[in-house]
């Protein structure tokens, strides 16, 4: 087989896996309520097949592109999603709790969907990335982030289960869920525009006085140019990125309102029944255990391996690059969480919130730091 064939196998396997995971949510939903083994067994079977397909994606793509397929945003996010499915399977089997999948699968799908918005073309590796440490470093980071994300999912379930109407905590929880909807909005509008909208370009004079061309893949609401769009911005703000954010929120809000008005329930109220059969203490325990697995793994991949590679490639193991700093921040945060839990008896609701914030930090570092803050890790 040649590289192109491998490439098409890998893409098709990934797409099929995505569809299977989407379908698997339904039996997982039944499994959270009924005691019939058929529902959770079929849900697990679908998840397993999807996971195997994703592994096929990974291996074939590696073969096709000639290096570990974790070198741009598409590849990283996809691998993160795969690891998330793996982590969910692992934790589910460790605790024999099948309803975690119902909440974790949508999160994994959002991660995969987010990755798919970026180009799936393989770019050749720049010299600093040509190293075996690329695979070692990124794979351990993705695995640890995935396990820590399970703590986020169980934390979310814990809070949903304890949610009561009109408390402050419940409102914040609704906001967390709304943010997930906004990401779905981003994926939807980006995919739709990719299919049905031809990109527009805007020319404007940037701060340095040079003429810059911005290619908008979404319809223009905001731009740096007077001629196009509804709102014109000064050049100190990147209008293209803001345009995307505005679109994501618009679509997110529409989706949210549709859900609210068709079901006449808040997201918390819709999701709470799916947590009824879970034991609170067990959810807390799973959350804690996931962090105990994820934290050392993150120390290893996100800091230790990262430092070794930085020493080899750039001649210094630490350079206060934004990505490095945010990895340190994430690590410090989970260290603080563990101290609070182990010595200050923070449990249940409080650590559940901390697990959610921790996930926020991971996402911030993988997405925001790459796309917004300029640094050595700015790719895709």
């Amino acid at each position: 087989m040649n590289n192109e064939q491998y490439f098409s196998i890998s893409s098709n396997a990934l797409l099929l896996a995505f569809i299977l995971l989407l379908i698997a949510i339904v039996p997982f939903g039944f499994a959270t309520k009924s005691r019939h083994t058929v529902s959770w067994k079929s849900a697990l079977a679908l998840t397993w097949i999807a996971f195997i397909l994703q592994i096929i994606y990974f291996v074939c793509r590696w073969k096709a592109v000639g290096h570990a397929p974790v070198s741009n945003m598409y590849e990283f996010m996809t691998f993160f999603g795969i690891m998330l499915i793996g982590a969910v399977l692992l934790i589910s089997y460790l605790y024999k709790q099948w309803s975690i999948g119902f909440f974790a699968l949508p999160i994994a799908l959002i991660v995969l969907g987010y990755g798919s918005v970026f180009t799936n073309k393989a770019a050749p590796l720049i010299p600093s990335l040509q190293s075996n440490w690329l695979a070692v470093h990124v794979i351990t980071v993705a695995a640890s982030s995935a396990v820590l994300s399970v703590a986020f999912v169980t934390g979310l379930m814990y809070l949903l289960k304890t949610a009561t109407t009109k408390t402050r905590s419940t409102k914040w929880l609704e906001l967390v869920l709304f943010n997930l909807i906004v990401v779905v909005g981003f994926i939807l509008i980006s995919t739709l525009c990719h299919l049905f909208f031809s990109p527009q370009t805007v020319e404007f004079i940037n701060k340095g006085g040079q003429t810059t061309v911005a290619t908008y893949t979404l319809p223009i609401i905001i731009s740096n140019d007077t001629e196009v769009g509804i709102i014109k911005l000064t050049t100190s703000i990147n209008a293209k990125k803001l345009n995307t954010i505005v679109w994501s929120f618009l679509v997110g809000i529409v989706l949210y309102l549709i859900i609210r008005y068709t079901t006449r329930k808040t997201l918390c109220e819709i999701l709470k029944p799916f947590t009824l059969r879970m034991d609170l203490r067990l959810l807390d325990e799973i959350s804690h255990r996931a962090i105990l697995i994820g934290f050392p793994l993150f120390s290893l991949g996100g800091l230790f391996f990262a430092m070794i590679w930085a020493q080899i490639a750039w001649g210094r193991y630490w350079g206060w690059d934004p990505k490095e700093v945010w990895a340190l921040i994430t690590w410090l945060f989970y260290a603080a969480l563990l101290h609070l839990r182990l010595t200050k008896e923070w449990e249940g609701e409080r650590t559940a919130w901390l697990a959610i914030i921790g996930f926020g930090l991971i996402v911030f570092n993988q997405v925001f730091v790459n796309l917004v803050i300029a640094g050595l890790h700015s790719y895709a």
């Binding site: 741009n72 073309k121 009561t164 230790f304 490639a313 350079g319 700093v325």
Partner: protein, 551 residues
């Protein structure tokens, strides 16, 4: 110093909560609890007992876990502020004024404020380093404060514990065994040994223990962190850390900065690019070529013993190497990294000495731009003098030509041409892209530019970091500590058989009660013991029945 004397006559230090020998609760607080606090086995902790002198107060401050967590959070927030705008070392300007202007121009008033507050160089600021230093002190003090007494207490554990200690453990049993009451302790010993516990017996009491080292996990990982932080500080000690950089032209041999007695020769610099079609982000950013390889082929030389510093005549070849990104040249403690490059630096310029009218050439000269000669002799009567050489011509100041740098970026020359026809010499000012100037009147001859040779330059970084092995040791110890503390647990079992055959049993584990109970289930069956109770769980269930929290 006051002491607490327990009913069992053991003398305990002040602050002890559970008698070191028999385990009796010594404070009213512990006596009132149904389950005692076993985190530090009820030992006296210095920070909880001394609070008089200033040293005590400082010690207590740093030993507090609350303070430690606060320091972690402060470090975390401070570090995040440093990523709002790029730090100064990522900004490519030299002077303070340029930096100030950069932040103002690019980020406006907020950028200016950011720079003026020193946030643009946050990580080397005194206050950030003090915070990290305090965090380090907190790790050390908190570990010593609890670790040493805990170690003492774990080392001196007695087999027999008092009933008041046993009853206040989380998992307990008391009752008659259903069978073989005379052999119960033997059966327990047998079972616990099979479960890989260490068993000790004394009279009618038994003590079984497993995985004590798990209690040291937190102290081990803190030790690793301290070693790591220590190694980072060691960089400041001379001899541990070298960080130099140098530009090396192709064909050039130069002494290596920071690496005494060594010379490096640049054989060739190679830049390779991918010949792909630009796509994705590459296209969007307008980058047409992606670099594939940056490489400098070098030869490393060493001066012979006893040679004069800087002397290049007597060099021994050490090795040849192709330095690439991710593949530094390593020799002894030093590594040389490929960091930068400059292509097509002017090396040699060729000129023709020509008659302006007939364009007849009298001969050619070649000027080495990094090492020009004073005069170039063509024959007896014909020569060219290089009156002035400006490697990086930047214009005139008060009628005098200026050079911006010693690098041949824009060379300019003042030639004096001597020919049989013009034995007094003619002066000509030649620079790139401009017609020659003839300040002393019309010349008969001119220097006609013929061709140029260029060469590449490699930017190399020389580093020695003797702290790296220590960092490695610290990192590995940290990982070991975390794993030991997270995945192993310390399980203990105290048993006493009373005279009437009643078994009194208490169990403790620092975590994973599920695993402990599995061991106890096996034991209960094997030794025919009554069912144990979990006092904490009972209490929780009681609470849950009272309060109802549904949507």
């Amino acid at each position: 110093m006051e002491k607490i004397i327990c009913t069992c006559k053991h003398v305990n230090p002040v602050g002890t909560k559970l008698c070191e020998k028999c385990g009796r609760p010594l404070t009213t607080e512990e006596q009132e609890k149904s389950v005692v606090d076993m985190r530090y086995d009820g030992i006296a902790i210095r920070s909880k007992t001394h609070n008089k002198s200033i040293v005590d107060k400082i010690w207590n401050f740093f030993s507090s876990v609350k303070v430690g967590i606060a320091l972690i959070i402060i470090t975390l927030i401070a570090a995040s502020i440093g990523t709002i705008f790029p730090q100064e070392f990522y900004v490519n300007v030299a002077t303070e004024a340029e930096k100030a202007a950069y932040y103002k121009d690019i980020y406006g008033t907020i950028g200016s404020l950011y720079y003026n507050l020193g946030l643009s160089d946050l990580y080397s600021s005194w206050w950030f380093q003090i915070i990290v230093g305090m965090l380090g002190v907190s790790i050390i003090v908190a570990s010593i404060d609890r670790g040493i007494p805990l170690h003492r207490s774990l080392k001196n554990q007695r087999v027999k514990r008092h009933a008041s200690f046993m009853k206040r453990q989380r998992v307990i049993t008391e009752g008659q065994p259903s069978e073989q009451a005379d052999k119960t302790l033997d059966l327990i010993e047998q079972q616990m040994k099979q479960l890989k516990y260490k068993v000790r017996r004394e009279d009618n009491a038994l003590f079984a223990e497993k995985g004590r080292f798990a209690r040291y996990g937190p102290y081990i990982n803190h030790l690793g962190l301290i070693i790591f932080l220590g190694a980072v500080m060691l960089r400041l000690v001379p001899g541990f850390y070298v960080d130099e950089s140098m530009w090396l032209r192709e064909g050039e041999t130069r002494a290596i900065d920071g690496m005494d007695g060594y010379f490096l020769h640049n054989d060739k610099f190679i830049l390779e690019t991918y010949d792909n079609d630009p796509q994705g982000e590459q296209l969007r950013q307008g980058v047409n070529v992606v670099a594939k390889n940056y490489q400098t082929n070098v030869t490393l030389y060493k001066q012979k013993e006893g040679a004069i510093a800087g002397q290049t005549s007597d060099l021994e070849e050490v090795k040849s190497y192709e330095i690439r990104v991710n593949h530094p040249l390593k020799h002894e403690d030093y590594s040389i990294f490929q960091m930068d490059y400059r292509l097509n630096e002017l090396k040699v310029m060729h000129f023709d000495l020509q008659n302006k009218a007939s364009e007849k050439s009298l001969g050619a000269i070649s000027i080495d731009l990094t090492d020009p000669e004073k005069e170039y002799i063509i024959d007896d009567q014909t020569k060219v003098e290089l009156a002035l050489y400006l490697p990086d011509f930047s214009g005139f100041k008060d009628g005098v030509p200026q050079t911006a740098s010693p690098f041949p970026n824009n060379p300019a020359f003042i030639f004096r041409m001597f020919t049989p026809e013009t034995p007094e010499g003619e002066t000509s000012f030649v620079s790139i892209g401009q017609p020659a100037m003839e300040p002393l009147g019309n010349n008969q001859y001119k220097m006609k530019f013929a061709s140029v040779e260029t060469r590449n330059m490699s930017g190399l970084t020389i580093r020695k970091d003797k702290t790296i092995p220590i960092l490695f040791v610290g990192g590995i110890i940290f990982m070991l500590g975390v794993v030991i503390g997270s995945y192993w647990n310390h399980r203990r079992l105290w048993v006493e058989q009373l005279e009437d055959g009643t078994i009194r049993l208490a169990a403790h584990t620092n975590k994973n009660w599920f695993g402990m109970k599995k061991d106890l289930n096996a034991l209960t069956t094997h030794a025919h013991l009554p069912q144990y109770v979990d006092q904490v769980e009972e209490e929780q269930e009681q609470k849950e029945k009272e309060g109802d929290n549904t949507l």
